[in-house]
Subunit: 626 residues, 2 copies
C-alpha cells in the first residue's frame, strides 16, 4: 500500500537526527570496526585462508556481527560516499568471500571438526548458520545498492543457489529446514526483490510454514518463534528478537504474495504487541530469562530486558506493517521505538551501547548498562545500521501520492507514481518544537495527495496549506491533502507539545501508582543527579510526582547535546524507618511531604553522565482522602 | 540464651495448628510416602541390594527426599506413637542401611560408573553428597529421639566417622571439602549435640570457613553461599535455601562456640534480611533465576519465587537466632513465616504443595502453583517435617525461667533450670482472636520469670496476672513476668486484632501505590472469585482499596476450614481502553469509580478452591487532589 523511498533520495539536514547520524559515521562505525577486529571477528575468516593463526573466536553467530556492520556501512554509503570506509569494507568483503567453499557454503564456525555438524537439525535449531547468511544477504544488498559492487551479493547468491536451494526444502530429495533464529526469511525476500528470482520468495514461504520433518519441543516452538506455520501463531511469546524478525519476514511475505492468512495473523500479533507487551519506550521483550516476552502486561521496569535489537525489530516490523496497511498506528509505534527504546541504545558519544534498556535503574546495584563491547554483539551494529538507514524511513509513496511519516529537517528528491519528479523539504525543530513546514515542489503542478501523519499523541493539531487551515485533522491518522500541488506550495503542521502525564493500563502491575511524562514523541525519565535533594541512592524512591498538569519546560542547549528539560511539581516523602520493610498506617499523602520540583530529561539520554539512579515511571503523590 | 523444649514435652491441643497437623499425619505424610515410592526414591536403594531392577531415578539429591520424609515421621513419632508409620519407616531404614558400603559411603547416585566421581571437587560443588548425608543425619536423629532406635543414626555416624573424617578436612593427608549446598554444617552440629563428639563440631566449623584448596568462581561463591569464610559475608545473596541453611549452620556453630565473629556476621545478614529481602509473608528468595535473592528491595509479587524451603530455612534460622539472643524480633519473623509463607506451601487437604509462593496470581496464565509432586521434591517433605516439629517451637527455657514464643492451645510439661517440674497450659482462639489464657503450674511455688512474647504487630496489648494488669508491655519484646509463681497462676494476654493497612518501604518498587492487609499474624489476600463483580481475569486489576481504616471482619467456619474474613472498602475502576496500554490523563481517583467491598482471606489459604486471580498487595485508590 505504501512504497519505500530509497535512502539516497532523502537527505537528512541539520536537526535532531543529523547529530546522531554524524556521530554514527564518525565515531560508532569506526570504533566498532576496531572492536570487531580486536575480538577476532575477521580473523575467523582469515584463518580459513591461512592468513591468521588465531583460533575461532566468539559465539556461533559471530559472522553476523561483520555482516550487520557491513550493512550499516552500506546504508552510510547510500547517503554519501566515504572513500576510506568504502575501501575498508571492500577489503573485508574480499576476505569474507575468499573463505567461501566451492559448494557455496560460508561460515567460519562450522569448519574443521565441526563441519560434520553443518545443517544438522540440531545445528539449524541452535547454530545460526541461516541467521548468519541472512545478515550476509542484507549487508550485501545494502552495499550493492550503495556501490553497485556485487562481490558480497554474489557470494550470498552462491550460498543460496548452490548450497541451500538444491539441498534443503520440501522436495523428497531435499533435507528439512528450520530458521532457528528467524532472519533468513526477510533476507531471502529482500534477495527476491533485488534479483527477481521467485525461488527465494518460495523458500522464505516454506520456512515460514515450518518443516514438520524437524520435530520441535513445545518450548522450542515458543522460544524460536519458527518451525510451525506462522499463520498458526496467536500471540507474541518466546525470544523477542526472534519473534520480531519472524514477524518482519512474514509481513514481507504478505507484501509480496498478498496471502490474507498472513495479514490476519500479523494483525492478531500486532494487537497483542500494543495491548499488553510493549513498553512506553517502544521496547519489547520484558524478561531476561530467554530474552523473552513475558505474560501479558508483565512489564517490569528495573528488571526490564528490552533488548536494543528487539526494539529495532519492532520498528522494522511496524515499517513493513505500514507498507502493508498505510495505517498511521504503525508509524506511531515506529516513532515511539525510534526516539526512545532504540535511541537509548547508543550513548551520545556513539561508543557505548545498551543490550538491556531498563526503565528504572538503581545506582547502588553497580550494574553497567552501557558498554563498548558485548561478546554477543548483536545490538551495536544493529543500532548503527538503524541510524544509517533512517532517511529511508521518513517518506513513502503510493498510487495516490506521497507520505510524510517522520518529521525532521530533510529533503526528499523522488517522484510520484506518474513519474513526475517531486521534491519535499521539511523545516522544523521537531521533536523539541511542534511546528513543521513542508515545501511541496512537483516538477510541474499535478493533482496528487500528500499524506501527512498526525501523531497519535498530538491531541490538538493544526494543519495549514499555503496559510489556510485544513479541517478533518485526527490524531493517529494520516491527513490526506489532495489537491493540485504546484511548486513551492507550503504545508504547515502544528502539533501539541504540551507535556502529558501518562498512566499505564491498570493491568500493568509494575506501573501501579506511577505516572510517566511524555512530550511529543519523547518519553522522559528522572535521573537522581538532576534532583536537588542529595545523591544517596536510598533517597531516590522517596520522590513522587503530583498529578497536577503544571509541567514547565525549557530547552537547554548545553545539556546532553541539547534537550528540552521538564520540571514537574513533586514531593519528597519522609524516609521510612530504615529497618522496617512493612509499616502500618504510614502517611503517604502529600500532606506529610516536602514539596519539590522533579527535573526530567529524555529517556534516550539517560546514563550519559555519572552513574545515578533513574526511573521512567515515577510514584504518584497520593492526595489525602477527604 | 534460650533453650529448646523437646517436642515430646509439648502437646498441641485442638486449635489452629491441630487441624493442619492432623492432616499432615493422616494425609500428607502417607500420600508423600506413596509418591516417593512411585518415583523410585526407594528403588534407588533397593537396586544396590539387587532387590530392584529399576534404573536410578531422580536428581542427585533424591536420597534427601527419603531422609527428610523420615525426619518428618521422626517428629510425628515424638508427639505420639503411630505403630503403622513406625513400622513403615523401620523397614525403609533397614533398606537404606543395607545400601551402605563397608567404607561408610552411602549414596544411590554416585555408584557404578559414577563412583569415580565421588567427592571430587566438582561433585562436592554440584553433587549434593554431603547435603544428602546432612538430611540423613537430621532424619536419623529425629527418629532416634522418638524411638531410641539407632539403626539409621549409626549409619550416619559410620559415614562421618569412617568415610568423611579420615579423608576430608584440613590435614595434609586429607582432601579438601566444600558443602556445595549447605546443610551438612547444621546436621554435623546436631550430631555433636546428640553424641558429644566434638570432632563433628570442628568439621562443621572447618566447612564454614571454606577450603581454599577448592577454588570457586565468584558466581559460585555467591550462588552456593559456602566455600569462603562465613564470617566474610556481608549480605544475603545467591540461592536462598543455600543461604538460609548456611546461616542455620553458622548460628548453630555460634551457639556451641560463642565465637563473636559469627554473631557479628549473623546480625549483619539478619539486618539485610528484614531491611530489604523479606516478603511480608516471611518468604525469601525473590528471583526464579538461580532460585536466588534479588537486589535489595527487589520483591516482585506475581513473579516472586519465595520457595517454601527458603521460608522454612528462614524460620529455622530465626529459631537459632532466638536461641542465641532471646530477641523477640526473631520470633516475629518465625511467626510471620510460619503463618504465611510456609503455611501457604501446603494445600488445606495436605496433598498439594507449592514450590513457588507468589504474592499475586493471574489465572489467565494457567500456571499451576499447587502440585502433588515435583521431581525436585525438596519442599513437600520439608513442609511435613516443619508441621510435625511445631510443638518444639512454642516454648523455651533459660536460667531465669520459661519463654512462651508462640500462641496456640497447648500444654507444656517440662521443668525449670532448677529442676522443678513446670506445666504451662494455653487456652486461646489465636490467631483469630487476640486473647490468650496461660495457666502456670510449677510443681511447687518458686520465683522465676515467665517471658511472654508481645508480637511486634500488636500496637495495644494488655497483660494481666491473676486478674491484675501489668505495666511495661512493649510490642516486639518479651515481657518478663518475674514473681513467685504458684500452681494454677493465670496470665491473660489481650493482643490488638484490629486489621492493619500495611505500606511497604517506598524502595520496594513492586509495592508502590499498593497496600496489604494484616490482622494479627495473618497476612491477607484477595481472590477474584470472592469479589462481587465478575470473574473475567482482565477485570481483576481494576479493584482498588480505600485507605480509610474501616475494615469489617467475621469468622466463617465453613470457609477454607474456618477463617476470619475481612471486608475492606474499595472501588472498581472503569476499564481502560482495551487496546491502550498507555493513556494520558486517565482519571484514577475514587471519584470516577464504583464503590465496592473487597473480601479478603488469609494468604495461606489461597488457591484452595477454583483457579482464580489473587493479590496480596492491592492498588490503593487515589483520592482526587484538592
Amino acid at each position: 500500500k505504501v512504497k519505500t523511498v530509497p535512502i539516497r533520495a532523502v537527505v537528512i539536514t541539520d536537526g535532531f537526527w543529523s547529530k546522531r547520524r554524524t556521530t554514527n559515521v564518525e565515531s560508532s562505525i569506526p570504533s566498532m570496526h576496531d572492536e570487531l577486529l580486536a575480538h577476532g571477528r575477521m580473523d575467523n575468516f582469515l584463518r580459513l585462508e591461512d592468513k591468521s593463526s588465531k583460533p575461532q573466536q566468539g559465539p556461533v553467530y559471530s559472522d553476523s556481527d561483520i555482516y550487520k556492520w557491513t550493512e550499516a556501512v552500506g546504508f552510510v554509503l547510500q547517503s554519501s560516499d566515504q572513500p576510506a570506509l568504502r575501501e575498508t569494507v571492500a577489503k573485508m568483503i574480499s576476505e569474507i568471500v575468499a573463505a567461501q567453499e566451492p559448494s557455496g557454503y560460508l561460515n567460519t564456525y562450522y569448519v574443521g571438526d565441526r563441519a560434520a555438524e553443518r545443517m544438522l537439525p540440531l545445528t539449524q535449531e541452535r547454530g545460526h548458520e541461516l541467521y548468519n547468511i541472512g545478515h550476509l544477504l542484507q549487508g550485501s544488498i545494502a552495499y550493492y545498492r550503495a556501490t553497485g559492487d556485487p562481490t558480497l551479493l554474489d557470494a550470498g547468491i552462491r550460498f543460496v543457489d548452490n548450497f541451500l536451494l538444491p539441498n534443503y526444502g520440501p522436495g523428497v530429495n531435499q533435507k528439512p529446514i528450520v530458521a532457528g533464529h528467524p532472519e533468513i526469511e526477510m533476507s531471502l525476500i529482500e534477495l527476491y526483490r533485488t534479483t527477481g528470482n521467485r525461488k527465494y520468495l518460495d523458500l522464505a514461504g516454506y520456512i515460514l510454514q515450518g518443516d514438520s520433518r524437524i520435530p520441535l519441543k513445545p518450548s522450542q516452538i515458543v522460544y524460536m518463534f519458527c518451525g510451525i506455520p506462522f499463520t498458526s501463531r496467536t500471540k507474541l511469546e518466546g525470544h523477542a528478537v526472534r519473534a520480531m524478525y519472524a514477524c518482519c519476514g512474514a509481513t514481507d511475505y504478505y507484501l509480496e504474495t498478498g496471502d490474507p492468512a498472513y495479514l490476519h495473523t500479523l494483525n492478531t500479533l500486532w494487537t497483542d504487541l500494543i495491548t499488553d507487551q510493549m513498553y512506553i519506550t517502544g521496547g519489547v521483550g520484558a524478561r531476561s530469562e530467554g530474552e523473552s516476552f513475558g505474560n501479558p502486561y508483565e512489564l517490569p521496569n528495573a528488571r526490564a530486558y528490552g533488548e536494543s535489537c528487539a526494539a529495532i525489530g519492532n520498528m522494522m516490523w511496524n515499517w513493513r506493517m505500514l507498507a502493508a496497511t498505510g495505517d498511521a498506528r504503525h508509524t506511531d509505534v515506529i516513532e515511539r521505538a525510534l526516539y526512545n527504546g532504540i535511541n537509548s541504545g547508543m550513548s551520545l558519544n556513539g561508543k557505548l551501547y545498551c543490550y538491556r534498556n531498563p526503565l528504572a535503574y538503581d545506582s547502588s546495584t553497580g550494574d553497567k548498562i552501557r558498554n563498548p563491547w558485548y561478546d554477543t554483539t548483536c545490538c551495536p551494529p544493529n543500532l548503527e545500521r538503524t541510524l544509517a538507514s533512517l532517511p529511508g524511513y521518513m517518506y513513502g509513496t503510493s498510487e495516490e501520492g506521497v507520505y510524510v511519516h517522520l518529521y525532521d529537517n530533510s529533503e526528499m528528491n523522488w517522484h510520484l507514481a506518474s513519474g513526475t519528479p517531486l521534491r519535499l523539504t521539511q523545516k522544523t525543530e521537531y521533536p523539541w518544537d511542534g511546528e513543521v513546514a513542508i515545501t511541496v515542489t512537483p516538477q510541474a503542478s499535478e493533482i496528487f495527495t500528500v499524506f501527512v501523519r498526525i501523531p497519535g499523541w498530538s491531541k490538538h493539531s493544526r494543519v495549514k496549506v499555503n496559510g489556510s487551515s485544513v479541517e478533518g485533522v485526527v490524531a493517529g491518522h494520516y491527513l490526506a491533502l489532495r489537491r493540485r500541488w504546484k511548486p513551492n506550495d507550503m504545508i504547515q503542521l502544528i502539533f501539541d507539545m504540551e507535556p502529558q502525564v501518562i498512566h499505564a493500563n491498570p493491568a500493568v502491575a509494575d506501573d501501579t501508582g506511577r505516572i510517566a511524562l511524555q512530550r511529543g514523541p519523547i518519553v522522559y525519565c528522572m535521573e537522581q543527579m538532576d534532583q536537588p535533594a542529595g545523591h544517596d541512592p536510598a533517597q531516590f524512591p522517596l520522590y513522587a510526582a503530583r498529578l497536577s498538569p503544571a509541567t514547565e519546560m525549557h530547552y537547554d542547549a548545553q545539556l546532553l547535546d541539547g534537550v528540552v528539560v521538564l520540571s514537574h511539581p513533586g514531593v519528597l516523602m519522609p524516609a521510612a524507618q530504615p529497618d522496617s520493610l512493612y509499616q502500618p498506617e504510614l502517611d503517604r499523602t502529600t500532606a506529610g511531604c516536602a514539596p519539590t520540583s522533579l527535573k526530567m530529561i529524555p529517556y534516550y539520554a539517560w546514563n550519559n553522565r555519572e552513574p545515578t539512579s533513574m526511573q521512567v515511571w515515577i510514584p504518584a503523590a497520593a492526595a489525602a482522602e477527604v
